[in-house]
Amino acid sequence: MMAHVISLLAVEDPTQTHSWILPETAEIIYGGLATVIVVSALVKFAGPMIKKSFSARTEKIQKELDDAAAAKVTAESDAQNIRKALGDVAGERARILAEADAQASAVLAEGRTRMTAEIAELEAKAEAEISAARGRGSDELRNEISVLASRATPIVVAATLNDQIHKDLVENFISKVGAGR
């Protein structure tokens, strides 16, 4: 058939047509047939591929949409968890601060009580020591005076004894002993 077409074209002048706008009838017939064949081939062979390609693309897009939705849900869940965790952290912080405040207050109160007791005890002890020291000082002073007096008295007395007094003491002794003491 191709040879026949070529022979027809060869016998006719390609520059001489029956219409300036329409092709030759055979050309229309053969051209139309060729177009039908090509389109049919395209529909038969390329159509499924294209359709499959579009389906895959659609599925991919749908999958991406689904993934995005799932990611959004996950992100929202995470965000909620984070918000919850933040809330928990704030609560924990407040609890710890409150607990620390309570402990500090308790320690402060206990320290104040202990310090008050210790100060009272120290004051009492100091008072007792002062009192004891006062008594001890008086006793020591009294003893010291007594010791000094007992040391000084013989010296003073000896210094006041002159020969006459010594003689009188001896004579007095002899008289008393001789009198049958």
């Binding site: 008295t153 013989p154 007395v157 000896a158 004894l161 003491l169 001896v170 002993v177």
Partner: protein
């Protein structure tokens, strides 16, 4: 040294004094040496110091009484010092004078006075003590400034104390 040993020493020394024929004089000198030993720290330290050679200590004895006392007295004191019994010297010599007094039928009367007594005072004091104790006494006067004033007499176990020191002590005790 035990009391028995002191008496034994004293009896031996008194026998020597008697053998020398001057028991009373030697006893009196030994008594004087005993009092000098008691009253002098320096003498006690020198005679009692075992680190000083005995020859040196005997020289001290010789220098102190060699020319003033009976030869027998010097030898007795030297013997006590050389034997290392110098600490017992007062007790031994007191026992010697007690033996001497007993030999004369007397009791030793030791009188301590702050001042030296005159012969007259000693005579009258001996008579007074004899009257008070009913015994003849051999009076020995020791000058002892620590009594301050007055006298204290010891006759055997009897003590007659009328010293200023004792009066002050009694006053202190009462205060």
């Amino acid at each position: 040294m035990s009391n028995a040993k002191v008496k034994a020493y004293a009896q031996a020394l008194f026998a020597i004094a008697q053998a020398e024929g001057a028991a009373d004089a030697i006893s009196n000198e030994l008594y004087a040496v005993a009092r000098a030993y008691e009253s002098s720290d320096e003498l006690r330290n020198v005679l009692g110091d075992a680190t000083i050679p005995s020859e040196r200590r005997l020289q001290v004895v010789e220098q102190l009484i060699g020319t003033r006392a009976n030869r027998a007295t010097v030898q007795i004191v030297s013997m006590i010092v050389a034997s290392g019994q110098v600490r017992e010297l007062p007790a031994v010599f007191d026992e010697v004078i007690a033996l001497s007094s007993a030999g004369n039928n007397q009791d030793l009367a030791e009188v301590r006075s702050a001042i030296a007594l005159t012969d007259d005072q000693q005579t009258r004091l001996a008579a007074a003590l004899s009257k008070a104790t009913g015994k003849t006494v051999n009076l020995k006067v020791v000058v002892d400034p620590s009594v301050i004033g007055g006298l204290v007499a010891t006759v055997g176990d009897k003590v007659i104390d009328d010293t200023v020191r004792t009066r002050l002590d009694n006053l202190k005790t009462r205060i």
